[in-house]
Symmetry: C2
Subunit: 292 residues, 2 copies
Amino acid sequence: MHPKNNDILRNYVITTENAIDNIFSSSIAPKTSVSEAMKYSLDAGGKRIRPSLVMEFCRVISGDYKKSINAAVAIEMIHTFSLIHDDLPCMDDDDFRRGKPSCHKKFGEAIALLAGDALENLAFRVIISSDYDDKTKSCLISEISDATAKMIDGQVRDLSFLERTDISEDDLLEMYSLKTCALIECSAVMGCICGGADKNELMLAREYAHNLGLAFQIRDDILDVIGDEKELGKPIGSDADNNKTTIVSVLGIEKASELAKKYSDNALNKLDSFKNNDFLKDLTKLLLERYK
Amino acid sequence: MHPKNNDILRNYVITTENAIDNIFSSSIAPKTSVSEAMKYSLDAGGKRIRPSLVMEFCRVISGDYKKSINAAVAIEMIHTFSLIHDDLPCMDDDDFRRGKPSCHKKFGEAIALLAGDALENLAFRVIISSDYDDKTKSCLISEISDATAKMIDGQVRDLSFLERTDISEDDLLEMYSLKTCALIECSAVMGCICGGADKNELMLAREYAHNLGLAFQIRDDILDVIGDEKELGKPIGSDADNNKTTIVSVLGIEKASELAKKYSDNALNKLDSFKNNDFLKDLTKLLLERYK
């Protein structure tokens, strides 16, 4: 990534984390018995891809990312709630997340369950307590609730695949579209809404993010085979150990890599319609080539 | 309850259940792999107290309950999501709910977890997809997200009490205010908002519902000791079996009954400020005297 774009990305990460801190010192998220667990998982790092997409699309459209900060934080909260619940013993049963004990290992299952519930709720609270006008709030909440419903549908399909041996490439891509792409599309679209984009820009941003999401998820599956445990902060080979069908187990590493490249190229093409697309192009390439 | 009021209550129950059916045949809740579990728990009966309060307060304020149906359904979804998660093995570990297997006994823990997550999200979706104006949507979502945060805080406190032996009456009442009263207050207030109430009416409705909620929860604790398993649809004595401190274990049955009566009387007094309060008065008395 170009150093200038790396600085932009770092600023988005810092902005996200500061905004989270501010929300937890405000009346939007008053201190409760579950705040510590919520904050622990929100603070656990991660690439902050979704909030960065929100802010960058807002900047691309309007020249200013700052009015999208609340939307950016809201989507990170939905993402984090899904990770906390995904890690629970009745789901993926993962003890580690980003190199740290997962929420239920640190706080127990009941608190992790409720921290996830509370973060899902807080995402809506952050939007509704912001100073967006009522129409913008409605649009943003509509996008978030639509994406959250799709993400959950994707998680259920993912679970149902564990019992099946006949899963096709199409089945997997449809599941990825729900489980992974929905929130990434929502991020790009929310940034556009905050920036005041027109319908055509919204559509192009959504198509970009859909392709980016597929490339991102396929790269995730590839990293579960070829990745480095220290870099990833979690054990590799877990998909194979769990007999999980992934795009890699269906197509093999080489064809899966070609497919990720195809979706990444589609995403890059969609960006040609936007001015000031330099950062997004660099980010798109980075996500395809990443090792964590 | 007066037969006329009983008919009104029955109409609210039917209206709630029909509205739920309509939402599940619409694009607001498109058929997904988790719809069946969501619908199973929503359909499991229950008294529909919260949606009835929403609709009745809307009728008391404006003469027409119909414009509050979406808000009524939304609060029932939040309530149902909380019950599904509450019943999970890592929480109360209850196998039965209203005489039927609890969601996780019927569908497995992972699906129950995700069905709860999806219902929490759907509550917001129902409001945002309704034809309320944007300002009303914002007010309703603000109330729902505030009440949900409080309810979750109450659940965490309830759990933390299991490890303590020094819990006072005040500790319990504060926990009940969060865990039980928050959604009941939200119901009354949302009905008022849909009906176009003024600030004073909102405040009185909230105070009424707060007192009703406390009376309701104390009656619940009493029924866990003196209730009939068939009527309740769940085993009695579970609080004592779990060494759970309740208002009954702290005060004894007699004083707890007096306290419930006190809160119920407070609630009735608040109703004097509203015209057409006949149904609400009858409902308040019914809830204090109920055996299920």
